[in-house]
């Protein structure tokens, strides 16, 4: 749908969604963990703002609640928990440069184009005004997946996972006007529990291999008695 047909508020929503996509790229490229956590918090904030605008301009009153939930959980609580974890693990100054940054960016851009191609049939259905954002949310999901693939550091992989969740939430909001409240609460609770479990896992991983570089787990072998 053409931008000229949208109201001012809905144009702002499109801008916010585009910025959420940009934070995905920032997250992907970021070498410092603390800065990556900040980028993730900004993404949660932007997703929450998009949700508020969808709620304000549609008949989905329960989306206000989802927006508040997203803001509290994704923009404040989880970044705070991650921040604390990183500080307790002594990783605040840890930086892990990407091996081929330009190639990774190009792959992520290809994912954006792919997701646009994928959702074209959805966009062609004359749905609600948010349908242009479906491609963006799918791209956020795929870039989160890419981040989990290319990063070796466990905390960075968790960030990729959480940003995938952001993308899924955005897709639900933009394609169908949000999930039912029960499902949403369940997902939010799941994410929170996952976060707590990840925190425990980080300490376990570090205790057993003395690093959070999960690539080193490939070298783990079971001790056998014959040797």
């Amino acid at each position: 749908m053409n931008l000229q047909h949208l109201l001012q508020l809905q144009q702002l929503m499109v801008v916010l969604a585009a910025m959420a996509l940009f934070t995905s790229f920032v997250l992907l490229e970021q070498t410092r963990l603390v800065a990556a956590i900040h980028a993730f918090a900004w993404q949660g904030m932007l997703v929450a703002m998009v949700t508020v605008i969808v709620a304000a301009s549609g008949a989905h009153a329960h989306l206000f609640f989802s927006a508040a939930l997203t803001l509290g959980l994704k923009a404040l609580l989880i970044p705070w928990m991650l921040h604390r974890l990183v500080r307790r693990l002594g990783l605040d100054r840890h930086s892990e440069p990407l091996r081929r940054p330009a190639l990774v960016i190009m792959a992520a851009l290809a994912l954006v184009i792919f997701s646009y191609w994928l959702v074209l049939p959805i966009v062609r259905q004359e749905l609600i005004f948010t349908r242009n954002i479906v491609a963006v949310s799918l791209a956020v999901v795929l870039i989160g997946l890419l981040m989990m693939v290319i990063r070796n550091q466990a905390v960075a992989q968790v960030l990729g996972f959480m940003s995938m969740e952001n993308g899924l939430f955005l897709a639900a909001v933009s394609a169908t006007g949000g999930m039912p409240l029960t499902v949403e609460l369940g997902v939010a609770f799941d994410v929170l529990v996952a976060m707590v479990l990840f925190g425990v896992f980080f300490f376990q991983i570090r205790a057993s291999i003395d690093s959070l570089d999960v690539d080193r787990m490939n070298r783990l072998t079971e001790r056998t008695d014959e040797q």
Binding site: N2, L3, L109, N132
Partner: protein, 317 residues
């Protein structure tokens, strides 16, 4: 009428040449005040150019004809490129005969001769500066073209005047692609004009200089023309950013009142841009040369995201 518009186009082109040193003087003044210095007068670049024109132009023994001709070629190409960018008024004939690809081509021509002149004498610094300049421009040019194509796709024309007119008719439209293109073009402009995180225009430090290294062998009127061309390039990018992304107040008719308003508005916009540049140069440190590709990758990413968000978010299907 035709003669009037051509006269105005010539006046605008001369205005570019006349205003370029003033912008540099203004930026240096603001920067000096931010650093608690009093700084030179904002007319100082004019005096420098005047002084250099009065001096003898010395030439190395190994210099060829190319070395002698390069300052004139660089200055003319930059000036022609500037003349095609609307500064005060739209609807002038110079803008109609050159679109944005021609502008990029003219700037590339100027850079080509600048780099050749840097290598001509055969000193180590000239060659080093030329190779660095080429590294930066090879990465900056695609980003610039992508950012400009984003605008061109929105306006359905690569002509800058149509882009500005399209912007003026859609002032209330909030476009994500423009935000990305603006951010990308700002980064490109910083790299191309050799401002602080990429190159420091005010030092002759061996290890870091890029633009200064290429013109190290020049003196007298040749040096004056080279410096003037660099100042012109800064004004060119400033006008490009100010008039395409913030086109308010630009003269659309050729009446005296509209032109006066256009001139006042564009000077105000450029002064503001100068302040922004001075502040950013004060708070940022120059980065290592090997970090510059990452910087320009970011510019390319922003420009490509602008292009994609235009296709995905603004046009839809």
């Amino acid at each position: 009428m035709n003669l009037v518009t051509w006269g105005l186009a010539l006046w605008q082109a001369l205005l570019y040449v006349a205003l370029a040193p003033l912008l540099v003087g203004w930026i240096r003044k603001v920067k000096a005040r931010l650093q608690n210095r009093r700084g030179a007068a904002i007319w100082q670049p004019y005096w420098d150019i005047y002084k250099l024109f009065g001096k003898e132009a010395r030439m190395a023994h190994t210099a060829s004809l190319l070395f002698r001709a390069a300052p004139y070629l660089v200055f003319t190409a930059t000036w022609l490129a500037a003349a095609a960018i609307p500064l005060v008024a739209t609807g002038l004939p110079t803008a109609a005969i050159a679109d944005v690809i021609v502008i990029a081509g003219l700037l590339a021509l100027a850079r080509f001769f600048l780099a050749l002149a840097g290598m001509d004498v055969g000193t180590a610094f000239g060659g080093m500066g030329a190779s660095r300049e080429m590294l930066i421009s090879a990465l900056a040019e695609p980003a610039m073209l992508m950012a400009v194509f984003t605008l061109a796709m929105t306006a359905h024309s690569t002509n800058l005047v149509s882009v500005v007119e399209h912007q003026l008719t859609n002032l209330d439209l909030l476009q994500p692609s423009y935000l990305f293109a603006l951010a990308g073009l700002v980064l490109v402009a910083i790299a191309e004009t050799g401002r602080i995180p990429v190159d420091n225009p005010s030092t002759h430090l061996e290890l870091t200089m890029i633009h200064e290294a290429m013109i190290l062998e020049y003196s007298g009127r040749h040096l004056a023309l080279m410096e003037w061309a660099a100042q012109l390039k800064l004004l060119l990018y400033g006008a490009l950013l100010a008039n395409i992304f913030f086109p308010w107040g630009i003269a659309r008719e050729t009446t005296g009142g509209a032109l006066g308003l256009g001139l006042a508005v564009v000077i105000a916009k450029l002064a503001l841009l100068g302040v922004v540049l001075a502040v950013s140069e004060t708070v940022l440190a120059k980065m290592r040369l090997f970090r510059v590709p990452a910087f320009l990758n970011l510019a390319l990413l922003l420009a490509l995201l602008g292009l994609l968000s235009h296709v995905i978010l603004e046009v839809g299907a």
